[in-house]
């Protein structure tokens, strides 16, 4: 079997960079771990849960999707192509890779989004199975597993007590990654480590069923009371994909930007005339729950949550989508 010594993680990244990949990996950055573009010297924190998700590399927080110029009376539309370099995402989380199916579905729904798809096509995703989980992880409650690699091109399995990883290419893109790694990989034998097993906290089918008939439940007011209405949860979420379109520029030149947006903001649904159909935070937080566990499954046959737990991990107000799901759909044996 193909093996990667954990101590050679940066060699692997360097080999891919030398082969022409832009390499994204969880990197220690001022005490925090972020998935960011790897540069020589950066310390890879392969097993850590980064504070951002890998969606940043497919659906960036801001992206220019149009450009215009005006010279005299001459108005011209400039050609804007997706910025989609060949990219290797290393040591992504299984829950991040699972969210690719959510993004793929929505960005290929009524139109094929060329900006997303160009980045998606250019990206090879290498997942590291999770040897540990914290109290906020709940992938097993939403049909995922810390040992699976749905959506990934290559799977690393932790082995030999964390010293090595077993390398399993799953697609042609994954095989290309392994081929480009050169001497960073070795042939040999290793014993796979046990994978994490976060507790199953709720039954997603029951949650969806409850949501479908409880739009007007008084529980929304109670559940949403701590929410202060920021976008931290949506922006850290690997599956959230709402955006705003903004035109910016001067008289002579303008750009059209696609920027992340969040249903947690009042402005998200504020009409030009002043009316807001989601008048308070309970309506906004209900939308977050409904979209992930009711509307999205109705439209696309899958949940728009993969249980990474980032939203609850970083929310200072203590909003916790898994706790809310457990409240509305407790497991029989819980």
């Amino acid at each position: 079997m193909k093996l990667l010594d954990r101590s050679k993680s940066t060699d692997f990244a360097a080999a891919l960079a030398a082969a022409g990949y832009r390499v994204a990996a969880p990197v220690s950055d001022g005490g925090l771990v972020r998935i960011k573009e790897w540069a020589p010297g950066a310390e890879i924190a392969a097993s850590e849960m980064p504070l951002n998700s890998m969606k940043d590399f497919l659906f960036p927080r801001t992206e220019v999707i149009g450009r215009w110029t005006l010279e005299g009376d001459g108005f011209a539309s400039q050609d804007v192509r997706p910025d989609a370099p060949k990219t290797a995402v290393l040591f992504a989380k299984p829950c991040d890779a699972a969210a690719l199916a959510v993004l793929d579905a929505v960005f290929n729904w009524d139109c094929k989004d060329c900006f997303y798809n160009a980045k998606r096509d250019a990206a090879a995703v290498a997942v590291l199975a999770c040897g540990s989980a914290d109290e906020h992880c709940f992938c097993t409650s939403v049909g995922g597993s810390p040992g699976e690699a749905h959506g990934a091109d290559l799977l690393f399995r932790p082995a030999d007590g964390g010293l090595r990883m077993i390398v399993e290419p799953l697609t042609a893109k994954g095989k290309a990654l392994a081929d480009a790694a050169g001497s960073a990989l070795s042939e040999g034998q290793a014993q796979a480590d046990p994978i994490a097993r976060p507790a199953e906290r709720f039954d997603p089918g029951k949650a969806s069923a409850w949501l479908a008939s409880n739009f007007e439940s008084p529980l929304w007011k109670e559940l949403s009371l701590p929410c202060l209405g920021c976008g931290a949860c949506a922006y850290a979420c690997p599956a959230c994909h709402c955006f705003d379109i903004q035109d910016e520029g001067s008289r002579s030149e303008s750009v059209r930007c696609r920027n992340w947006d969040s249903c947690g903001f009042g402005l998200f649904t504020l009409h030009a005339g002043g009316h807001n159909p989601r008048a308070d935070q309970s309506a906004r937080w209900r939308q977050r729950m409904m979209h992930k566990f009711s509307y999205f499954p109705q439209r696309f046959g899958r949940l728009a949550c993969t249980g990474c737990g980032r939203c609850a991990r970083l929310c200072q107000a203590g909003m916790d989508i898994a706790r809310a799901c457990a409240r509305i759909s407790p497991r029989e044996n819980a």
């Binding site: 001022g30 005490g31 925090l32 504070l51 927080r61 801001t62 109290e135 007011k221 949403s224 009371l225 701590p226 202060l228 209405g229 920021c230 976008g231 931290a232 949506a234 922006y235 850290a236 705003d244 903004q246 910016e248 930007c257 920027n259 992340w260 969040s262 903001f265 009042g266 402005l267 030009a272 308070d280 935070q281 309970s282 970083l314 200072q316 107000a317 203590g318």
Partner: protein, 271 residues
């Protein structure tokens, strides 16, 4: 501290059972974390807790219509929260009898205090709430750099900002019904999370806090990206104190630094 927490819980239960307040805002412990918690029945008072790890500033909830609509309220109030209540009072955002504090801090429980009594409690037990020395040292270190070096430092930090506005949400002072970043007809500042839009947002946020920030640190604690927002806030607070003697959050009817003027103000800098 356990005696103080017991007394605080008993007062919360008393206020609720007497009908003197309809909702108590406090903290609860969940795992290793401290979170805001809301109770509306006396029997729930046992859920309330408090220690030095309770960093969220509960005064931020007073701008939330769903909370405000349930006044009269009681708020478990650390010295930092008390200062924010006084700032909100001095800026005409809350009124006596609308909010009561269950004042609690490292020196114990101060009882049920109306807004008018907060200043005396603070001045008696916490007269000199100043930032931690480590923060002041970092402010001094940064202040000693050249303007170019500082700009470079902040541009690198501001690039991390995703514009999630967790800092704004966590801050009691950010109560504008329509924040500058939400002025979109036309768009006042770029909402793209990059470059000049991030710079504008971060600097405007900090400037709007000058002479109003009480140094609670909730914004920095809420920032998912780990931006050192308190470096900006603390420096502006220093300037506000040194130039104008501003120490927000100690007086019920203090004149807001930015929101007030007098004919005697120094105008010599206007040329």
């Amino acid at each position: 501290m356990s005696g103080a927490i017991g007394a605080m819980r008993a007062d919360a239960a008393k206020l609720l059972s007497e009908g003197a307040v309809k909702l108590v805002l406090g903290y609860c412990v969940r795992g290793n974390e401290r979170y805001p918690c809301f109770i509306s029945e006396a029997a729930q008072a046992e859920a309330l807790d408090f220690d030095q790890s309770c960093r969220q500033n509960l005064a931020a909830y007073l701008r939330k219509p769903e909370v405000r609509g349930r006044a009269p309220l009681a708020v478990v109030s650390s010295p930092a929260v008390c200062r924010s209540l006084l700032v909100l009072s001095s800026e005409s955002q809350i009124r006596e009898n609308e909010v009561r504090a269950l004042a609690i801090g490292p020196k114990g429980y101060g009882g049920i205090l109306g807004l008018g009594a907060l200043g005396a409690w603070l001045k008696a037990d916490y007269p000199d709430l100043v930032p931690e020395q480590a923060l002041l040292d970092r402010v001094a270190e940064l202040s000693a750099k050249t303007a170019q070096e500082r700009a470079k430092f902040w541009m690198k930090e501001f690039e991390k900002c995703t514009r999630c506005y967790a800092c704004r949400a966590a801050c009691p002072g950010c109560y504008c019904e329509r924040c500058i970043v939400e002025k979109n007809m036309p768009q006042w500042i770029s909402s793209a999370a990059a470059g000049h839009g991030n710079y504008a947002w971060e600097v405007i946020r900090a400037f709007h806090q000058a002479g109003r920030c009480t140094g609670c640190g909730a914004c920095e604690a809420a920032c998912p990206q780990g931006l050192p927002l308190m470096l900006l806030n603390a420096r502006l607070s220093q300037d506000a104190f040194e130039e104008f003697g501003s120490r927000p959050g100690y007086e019920l009817e203090a004149k807001p630094l930015i929101g007030s003027w007098s004919a005697e103000d120094d105008g010599s800098f206007i040329r």
